[in-house]
Symmetry: C2
Subunit: 438 residues, 2 copies
């Protein structure tokens, strides 16, 4: 009798081959895009000292962190994002690296969140950042990379909704509400969830009702990028140097994006604030036209100091994070199979009486010719071997008694058999049929 019930922890998942291949295919596409833009991969440990990951800590995130004492009584924790380890990494390795440093990191992170909201406790992020530069060119590159990633993943229509933290802050400064900026940002950040009416009421508890109206007006999108930008700037003091710089920065970014042919994906959306994050400049969220309700699938922004907790060295940067699980769920909901490029192409059928040595000789020849191939290990009934092929989405099966032929090829999708005399013809037919079924 088995003594242990096989099960996984709540919020954790197994990935069966179809889903894992879809995930691998998605990761591969992202890696290709990251490489095209000059990002290089890094990796960091899953476990770190808790003080490294949590800093002085005490926030909402801390409660969700998997933290424990290890065998050496060290206070350790599993990473809950890829940004904090990256900050520690840059502080530790800046001398060995070159700046600006463009890295990507696609890996799992862990948070003991409430799973009732459909969240996972083990999930995967794909972060890409350019660290060591304040330039608008780097901001543009992050947005271009995000746009290229969405295009490569064939998610359908999408918008990169961008904004600049300073415009909002300078507007708040003008209405003497800068001291409440955290609460206001947090309220505005929930606009889509709570709706304008409730947001106005919440804002009116923080500022006067008329200023609450101004805030709601400020965060309205106008028709085009420049109209929105001028409306926002109009709410600031026209002599405010910080607001002027933010306006100039957004225009620079937009010009670079237009030059690279990506301006159609960009929306200036003053309601995007990334309220709880540490961003200091441009911020971005990415929404899918087919599934606006799932929220942002790629979010990020510019930060002044990545690693100030760990080093005196100033490391400004810009980056974004792709939520792979949300994106996979979205692709699934839209009905886009991420597709996979690796699975057995040819099954060598094992018939009673066919010499196993000949079957293995044939399989080796087929692999040498580039076909992903396997020998069914036992002479089970043919129908069982067909079923196996169908379950595994193997398109072709081959019967033979000799590696040199003759062969019978079974096209499983059409339930059709083709007689083939020699190995050269076998390869040609397989190639043609795989092309048809691809």
């Amino acid at each position: 009798m088995p003594s242990i019930q096989p099960r996984v922890l709540k919020g954790f998942r197994d990935f069966l081959p179809d889903v894992e291949m879809a995930r691998a295919s998605l990761i591969k596409k992202l890696e290709q895009v990251f490489a095209l833009f000059g990002f290089v991969p890094i990796d960091t440990p899953v476990l770190e000292y808790a003080d490294i990951l949590l800093g002085k800590g005490g926030g909402e995130t801390d409660k969700q962190v998997y933290r424990f004492l290890d065998h050496g009584e060290r206070d350790v924790a599993m990473r809950f994002d890829l940004t904090v380890p990256f900050a520690r990494f840059m502080a530790e390795h800046a001398e060995e690296l070159y700046l600006p440093f463009r890295r990507y990191h696609i890996a799992k992170v862990w948070r003991g969140e409430n799973t009732q909201r459909g969240r996972y406790r083990e999930f995967m992020q794909g972060d890409f950042d350019i660290v060591g530069t304040d330039a608008a060119s780097a901001d543009a590159d992050i947005l271009l990379t995000a746009a290229e990633a969405m295009t490569a993943l064939e998610v359908g229509g999408f918008s990169l909704r961008i904004n600049h933290r300073a415009l909002f802050n300078r507007f708040l400064a003008r209405i003497d509400a800068l001291d409440k900026s955290v609460e206001i940002l947090r309220t505005v950040d929930k606009l889509e969830k709570t709706g304008p009416q409730a947001t106005a009421e919440m804002l009116a508890t923080l500022v006067s009702p008329s200023l609450a109206d101004d805030i709601l007006s400020f965060i309205q999108k106008e028709k085009g990028f420049e109209q929105t930008l001028e409306k926002m700037f109009g709410f600031c003091d026209p002599g405010d140097q910080e607001a002027r710089a933010a306006r100039a920065r957004l225009l620079d970014i937009m010009n670079f994006l237009a030059a690279a042919g990506a301006e159609r994906h960009i929306v200036l959306d003053p309601s995007i604030t990334r309220g709880l994050d540490y961003y200091t400049g441009m911020v971005v969220e990415t929404s899918l036209a087919a599934l606006p309700e799932i929220g942002s699938v790629c979010s990020g922004g510019r930060y002044d100091e990545l690693a100030s907790l760990y080093t005196d060295r100033k490391l400004p940067g810009v980056g974004a994070s792709i939520g792979l699980d949300r994106l996979m769920a979205a692709l699934d909901a839209i009905g886009i199979a991420a597709g996979s490029d690796i699975s057995t192409q040819v099954l060598v059928i094992n018939q009673e009486g066919a010499p196993g040595t000949e079957l293995h000789r044939l399989a080796a020849s087929l692999r040498n010719a580039g076909f992903a191939c396997e020998v069914f290990p036992e002479p089970k009934k043919t129908i069982a071997q067909y079923t196996y092929a169908e379950r595994k989405h193997i398109p072709l099966a081959v019967f033979t008694n000799a590696a040199s032929g003759p062969f019978t090829m079974r096209i499983l999708s059409r339930r059709e058999n083709i007689e083939i005399t020699d190995f050269t013809n076998l390869c040609e037919t397989a190639k043609r049929e795989l092309h048809v079924s691809a």
Copy 2:
């Protein structure tokens, strides 16, 4: 002042881009080999219920496991290998899958081992298994896949040293030492480390000195596969059905390997026992000709029941595990760079006065033409941009004021500049130069 010293836990490592790209390249080659043999990928959670991972527990491994109570007071642990989670996975999902199931899983595992022996506490394994069949064909496929993997990784000469557990056990049965098989296996398993003299002495504490000599004689390799096999069989009772079946199995495996052209990599080595593991049939270890002292880089064998802790269903199988960290260290020691195929190919130099829009327009055109490309984000001194390119191993740099040209291309390795009039020529020159530098 930074308040936290950036550091990683003992036994844990950061992977900087060069090493991470080498690892990614190694993983990619393994995945291609696995796919060629019909293996499909899966993934399982890093954290599992402790009882799932440790079973009834109490062994040496248990002390090394990262185990703690989570937020819900659940007794959880980080996986310490990929076999136990796979057993749980098969017990849970056998109905959804097809048998025989060929899976691979390349992922990190964690053990709080003594790091003084040069071991890591976070390391990566690449497991591949065929579950749901007892056939010799599957044993052969595991060995063929291992051989193909070593060939693909270009590790130089290597040997798959195989054996069959039953031959050793039936020999022990004949000398009435079967009850001491665990201790004897464990002693023999350390032969390479302790040497024949010490092994003989240790064996003589378990059996009579003359039987100790027999055991040492049994585990000697002879000239060829068949000679070794007959010697081993000669130590067993000739009427012993189990020994006969083991001999027949080894011959079948060898015939399949010969048919597939891989027999030159196989050595029958009676000293290979995988002493502490749960194997019941064929066992294998892989040694590199250039670095025999580092031990096995790919080990495995056949097991009767993968998942008996979790299910009544009988799941016999065969598999092996590649130690990626040991393999990377070996490749490094042998002087074989794993190489990488992704990094920036063209750096667009940012000169004072060159319009950023034109640089981004050019970069977008180069990417459309398939070149991995980045714009240096700020107009720093040319020498600083060259240094950046060299540090990042970027072979080509381009100067321009307009995306349509004219251009100056800098071949960084030769410190040579080429004048180019238009974009078509730019692409052709870049292609040629990248081919030269590849």
